[in-house]
């Protein structure tokens, strides 16, 4: 791939991804419309969310065609957010437990 030409790709790819994004959005809306609850609801929401995010970053933002050094510099740092989320879940459960034991009567 040559950088001089910029990111030039067949229009067909964009139209396909555009179409897929519409389908995925409709599906995630249907999750709420049908009213799935519990684990099924959460996993469906996450699957559709990650698929949409992946398509946007990979195709619309051209990450698939960028060099690996740029892709790694941008895509790996957000992974540390998972640590924050993990810590906050643990801490949050603890706070919730304390509130139940001390503030509800």
């Amino acid at each position: 791939m040559s950088e001089a030409e910029g990111q030039q790709h067949p229009i067909k790819i964009y139209l396909w991804i555009w179409f897929l994004l519409f389908v995925l959005s409709t599906l995630s809306y249907m999750v709420d419309y049908i009213g799935y609850q519990g684990m099924l609801r959460w996993s469906l929401i996450l699957v559709f969310m990650f698929l949409k995010a992946g398509f946007i970053v990979a195709i619309f933002m051209h990450m698939t065609w960028e060099r690996m050094s740029l892709a790694c510099a941008i895509l790996t740092p957000p992974l540390v957010i998972l640590v924050l989320i993990g810590l906050m879940v643990v801490e949050g459960e603890y706070t919730f437990g304390s509130r139940l034991s001390f503030f509800s009567s």
Binding site: E3, W18, Y29, F60, G92
Partner: protein
């Protein structure tokens, strides 16, 4: 940029060996236009800001002992006598995706040197963005005036709902508004032929990166705030 004589694309390797080569060369690491690399780094920092908002929202939602207001109900609209959950949010989602598609096409036509198409497509993107902000204003008004949602409390349930909602959607709406201005500015420059003279349409792609990021953030807000 082309005046950088560090290494011509011919000697660059791909994949893992290219990754090693780029980071160990003691020279330029990112073989991308500087504007694009800087936009990516800005978007990375923005990713952290939005992640922190969403994480704090997760935390208050876990810790509250009062039931969280059901977004499906809060954001429902009654249309022609039908009660449709999340209707406005669904429309806003589709508008933002449409705008992402027109933006991707604008970038593509930019590299094809089709100036007219770029101006029209970027104009359409900005209009979609403006209508998104308009709907958000409607949503906020409805929530504040009719439902009585305040940052410190609301009649439907957990008090933290309002603070999380206004903070997260407000910050996103601010990004959309800034994006509309940014896109309009770049579209005007395209229309004037600035990028034909410099024979460089990278500015359109960089603006596109910002706009796709705004759509990307909405994907996460839609999933975690409205659907969860």
């Amino acid at each position: 940029m082309s005046d950088n004589a560090v290494s011509s694309p011919a000697e660059l390797e791909e994949g893992v060996s290219g990754f090693t080569q780029d980071w160990t060369s003691d020279k330029q690491t990112f073989h991308a236009p500087w504007g694009k690399a800087m936009m990516w780094i800005f978007l990375l920092s923005d990713t952290f800001i939005f992640s922190i908002f969403l994480t704090s929202y997760m935390k208050v939602r876990i810790t509250t002992t009062v039931p969280w207001p059901n977004p499906s109900e809060v954001f429902a609209l009654t249309l022609f006598g039908h009660h449709i959950p999340l209707l406005l949010i669904a429309i806003m989602t589709f508008i933002l995706i449409s705008s992402s598609g027109t933006m991707a096409m604008a970038v593509n036509f930019g590299y094809r040197r089709n100036r007219k198409a770029v101006v029209w497509l970027m104009g359409a993107t900005a209009l979609f963005g403006a209508s998104f902000v308009g709907m958000q204003a409607f949503e906020w008004t409805k929530l504040i005036v009719e439902e009585g949602v305040r940052p410190w409390g609301n009649p439907m349930g957990a008090a933290q709902f309002g603070a999380s909602f206004f903070m997260i959607t407000g910050f996103h709406g601010l990004h959309v508004s800034a994006g509309v201005i940014y896109l309009t500015y770049i579209a005007i420059k395209v229309g004037r032929g600035d990028y034909d003279r410099s024979n460089n349409y990278e500015a359109v792609e960089i603006a596109g990166l910002y706009w796709h990021f705004v759509d990307l953030v909405w994907v996460f807000i839609f999933a975690f705030f409205y659907l969860w």
